[in-house]
């Protein structure tokens, strides 16, 4: 018996350093945290995020920085280039472009983001249903989409003008009434392709609910095209807003949006390029950062991208 027994001298005491080797020190990383860490390591994406934050802050506080205001006309000082008083120059009525640009950025970015959100929600739900169920449901919804898409949106906009007063809500409603359709089609196509994948069949076999399959399995895998479509929605909504204000529904003067500023500047961009450059640069840079950050986000969210 004694032979078989362990004797205390067979053991050595662990020193302090060795004491915790068996414990999983690294806390378990959730998928989200993992993604966040990977995102942080993507320098360009982080720079984009910082620029986006700066643009957002400027859109809120920018108009307050300058001593000028967005609406006072200085007819004697119109079409001035950037200078000490008017940092971005003045427009054709001598209004300060710095305040107008940031004010416009605030309005336009809101328009873009709200419109993109509306498209996202409507498009993903309806597109998802079309793609997943197929058959008659698909046929009917698809036709509905085609009809909505074919009705001249200008008629709808004019009707909205007659019924409502111009406001952010009406603008977003006008923009998304037909805007979501292209998103729905993209989602539909993706879902139609994805739903035949083995893991979906497995999930179905295991009795997962339709909503779960759709939102946990299918939509996340279709995220790439969805994000890309969204990044198109934002600038197109910004320019569509300019068209709306042309019809009397968008931002009304003297307030400015980037789209209307660019429209105004277009008439004389060869003479007064700064009137075009500043608002266009804000849109382009913002969109660039959105895209780079969006790519970074997608890379981070997609475990397959791990290197």
């Amino acid at each position: 018996m004694k032979d078989n027994a362990f004797t205390p001298d067979q053991f050595t005491k662990l020193n302090k350093d060795e004491k915790h080797t068996e414990v999983v020190v690294r806390e378990s990383i959730s998928a989200w945290k993992d993604a966040w860490l990977r995102l942080c390591s993507n320098k360009i994406a982080m720079i984009s995020l910082i620029i986006l934050v700066i643009v957002a802050l400027m859109a809120i506080f920018g108009p307050m920085i300058s001593e000028q205001d967005y609406r006072t006309n200085h007819l004697k000082e119109k079409n001035l280039g950037p200078n000490a008083t008017y940092w971005f120059g003045t427009d054709d009525l001598g209004r300060d472009l710095f305040t107008r640009t940031w004010m416009g950025a605030g309005i336009s970015l809101q328009v873009g983001i709200y419109a993109a959100l509306a498209d996202l929600v409507l498009g993903v739900i309806i597109g998802g249903i079309m793609g997943y169920f197929g058959g008659r449901v698909d046929e009917i919804l698809n036709r509905f989409c085609e009809i909505i898409y074919s009705i001249p949106s200008m008629l709808i906009i004019i009707l909205l003008i007659v019924i409502f007063k111009p406001s952010m809500l009406t603008i977003v409603v006008a923009l998304s009434i037909t805007g979501w359709v292209s998103m729905a089609w993209i989602v539909r196509g993706q879902i139609m392709q994805l739903k035949n994948q083995e893991y979906v069949m497995a999930a179905q076999a295991l009795g997962a609910s339709t909503a779960r399959i759709l939102f946990r399995h299918l939509i996340p895998n279709a995220m790439g095209p969805i994000i890309v479509t969204l990044t198109l929605t934002v600038p197109s909504a910004i320019f569509a807003e300019a068209f709306l204000s042309f019809l009397g529904l968008g931002v009304q003067s003297p307030a400015a949006s980037l789209g209307t500023m660019i429209n105004d500047a277009l008439k004389a961009w060869t003479l007064y390029p700064w009137r075009m450059i500043f608002p266009a640069a804000v849109i382009s840079i913002t969109m660039l950062c959105f895209n780079i950050f969006g790519d970074g986000l997608r890379d981070a969210l997609d475990p397959k991208m791990k290197k």
């Binding site: 007819l75 009397g248 004389a268």
Partner: protein, 561 residues
């Protein structure tokens, strides 16, 4: 590495394909869609005699119609000047001169005109133009079935209104009668001194009697029959129209251009670019446009080509006088007095407009001279202090503590928007009031205006004929254009008096009095008198705009330096 290499060859292949595809444009199909001008026509002319030049201008868009009875825009009018010719034409001073009618006599009471059609007047197909053609054409325009929107321009003729409104179906009751092939007798309702001026208006142009057999005659180059200095040789819908000199025109010796090419370019920057790259000889009003922001620059850089001409049109804002606060005349006047019109024309519109303090624009004939020279437009002055006082008094009379929320509406256009923004800002700075500026789609605006569903609305008016009446009869009680709620029995009586009278002095006096009432009550706030700006390439001569800004190119010629 392999992957990338293959990718590149794949790309290269695609690129080559793309280049080939672009290179293989189907030439034959596109060769005749000439939105920009066909340069060869001018190059060919350059070597020949200088008078064989083709004149090239822009008309912006498709004419609404080339059937005189149905024309209603200046694009149609510009083309009609070349294709058709009425009884009279206008010279550069706006006077009526003989055209298809070689002479006319007016009866003692001023109620009957007898026109003599010239013997050698011919249609483009060689048929003679007769007095019967005019009788046919005018009655056709009055026939309700024709659907002419401008038929009311004939209402000065006895029986015309009844016939057009369907009160009688008897066309013989209308006072238009061909006494013989050369003589046309016209009976008027009242002595209308400006009737002669109307006979050069495009609805008064004749149409060939054969058109009744072909309803769509005016939609194609081959079926259009005109009697003007030019005839149509080609009509590419939405793209271009080409006219060539007509050999059957009686005065063809005076017509120097071999033809006129019209392009339909909507974008003003594109139009200017075409002019600058020598694809157009003429750019700007009436049917084109020079981008307003370019005007100050071009005025300097193209001094010899740039022309500004005042035209008989007024730009103004109308007030809804039935609603608070514009039911008070002092409030209306305050707003009219608190803006700086000079600054607007100098810095905002920039096309040489003239600040207006009256309603009738210069260019309209009065007793002998220009009406505006005879009756100065000093009905009110700009005075911010006085305006503030009036506004305070007006608001007190209305028992308002502060200026209520009101909106200025204008129809969608960059120009109107800019003016509205400038004026609203002047009101804010000078009177301390907030007025919203809102653009509305044109139909919506018009609908709201006729329904009196507005507070301040932008408006403009161009002369139909050369007499102050074309402006003054707008604001009679219940008038179709009077959407301000303005009503003054005194004003109505003066207009009625001017209508009935054949004595020019009496008429002008009555209308002067009426204009004074209008400006005193101020249902409308004048802003400026329009002007047209255009550029014409050096060497082109005798192309001019008449008093209302319509272009006459028919006797133009080219003279190389």
């Amino acid at each position: 590495m392999r992957t990338r290499k293959s990718a590149f060859s794949f790309i290269a292949a695609l690129l080559i394909l793309a280049i080939i595809a672009v290179g293989c444009t189907p030439k034959n199909e596109t060769g005749n869609n000439g939105a920009a001008n066909n340069e060869s026509s001018n190059n060919g002319a350059a070597g020949e005699a200088t008078d064989a030049k083709v004149f090239r201008m822009n008309i912006h868009s498709e004419p609404s119609s080339l059937d005189p009875a149905l024309m209603e825009d200046n694009v149609s009018g510009t083309l009609a000047t070349g294709i058709y010719e009425g009884l009279t034409r206008k010279n550069e001073n706006g006077e009526s001169i003989p055209a298809t009618a070689e002479k006319w006599v007016q009866s003692e009471d001023g109620l009957t005109y007898t026109f003599t059609i010239r013997q050698d007047a011919k249609w483009s197909n060689g048929d003679p133009v007769t007095a019967n053609d005019f009788e046919f054409s005018w009655k056709r325009a009055l026939d309700p079935a024709t659907g002419s929107t401008y038929a009311y321009q004939f209402y000065y003729i006895a029986g015309a209104q009844d016939y057009n409104e369907g009160k009688t179906t008897n066309a013989d009751a209308v006072g238009i009668k061909a006494l013989d092939a050369q003589t046309l007798e016209v009976k008027l309702v009242a002595p209308t001194p400006y009737f002669l001026s109307l006979t050069s208006f495009y609805v008064y142009n004749p149409v060939h009697q054969s058109v009744k057999d072909n309803e769509a005659w005016a939609a194609d180059a081959v079926t259009i029959i005109g009697n003007g200095p030019f005839k149509m040789s080609e009509w590419q819908h939405n793209t271009s129209i080409k006219l060539v000199k007509s050999d059957s025109y009686y005065d063809k010796d005076q017509v120097k251009f071999a033809g006129v090419d019209f392009t339909m370019i909507e974008d003003s920057a594109t139009e200017l670019a075409n002019y600058e790259t020598n694809k157009l000889d003429y750019t700007g009003k009436p049917t084109g446009e020079i981008p307003s922001e370019q005007i100050p620059v071009l005025k300097e850089s193209k001094k010899d080509e740039f022309v500004t001409k005042g035209i008989a049109s007024s730009y103004y804002y109308m007030f809804n006088t039935e609603e608070v606060p514009f039911n008070n005349v002092k409030v209306r006047k305050a707003l009219a007095m608190a803006i700086d019109r000079q600054a607007i024309v100098e810095s905002v519109t920039m096309a040489g407009e003239v600040p207006s303090f009256g309603f009738v624009p210069p260019g309209i004939i009065g007793m002998k001279d220009d009406y505006r020279n005879e009756v100065k437009d000093d009905f009110f002055t700009e005075d911010v202090e006085e305006a503030k006082k009036l506004l305070a008094e007006g608001l007190a009379e209305l028992k308002l503590a502060k200026f209520p929320e009101v909106t200025l509406t204008f129809n969608t256009s960059d120009g109107h928007k800019k003016i509205a923004e400038a004026i609203v800002e002047m009101w804010r700075q000078n009177l301390g009031i907030e007025v919203g500026a809102k653009n509305e789609e044109f139909s919506v605006l018009l609908k709201n205006r006729t329904a009196m569903n507005y507070q301040i609305s932008r408006a403009g008016w161009g002369a139909d004929y050369n007499d102050p009446m074309t402006y003054m009869d707008m604001f009679v009680t219940g008038g179709g254009q009077n959407n301000t709620g303005f009503s003054s029995p005194e004003y109505d009586a003066l207009i009625k008096k001017a209508y009935a009278s054949g004595d020019q002095a009496e008429r002008i006096a009555a209308m002067t009095e009426a204009e004074k009432i209008l400006m005193d009550q101020m249902p409308i706030m004048p802003i400026y008198y329009y002007s047209n700006t255009y550029m014409l390439k050096p060497g082109f001569k005798n192309i001019f705009l008449d008093y209302k800004g319509d272009i006459d190119y028919t006797r133009g010629y080219y003279e190389a330096k």
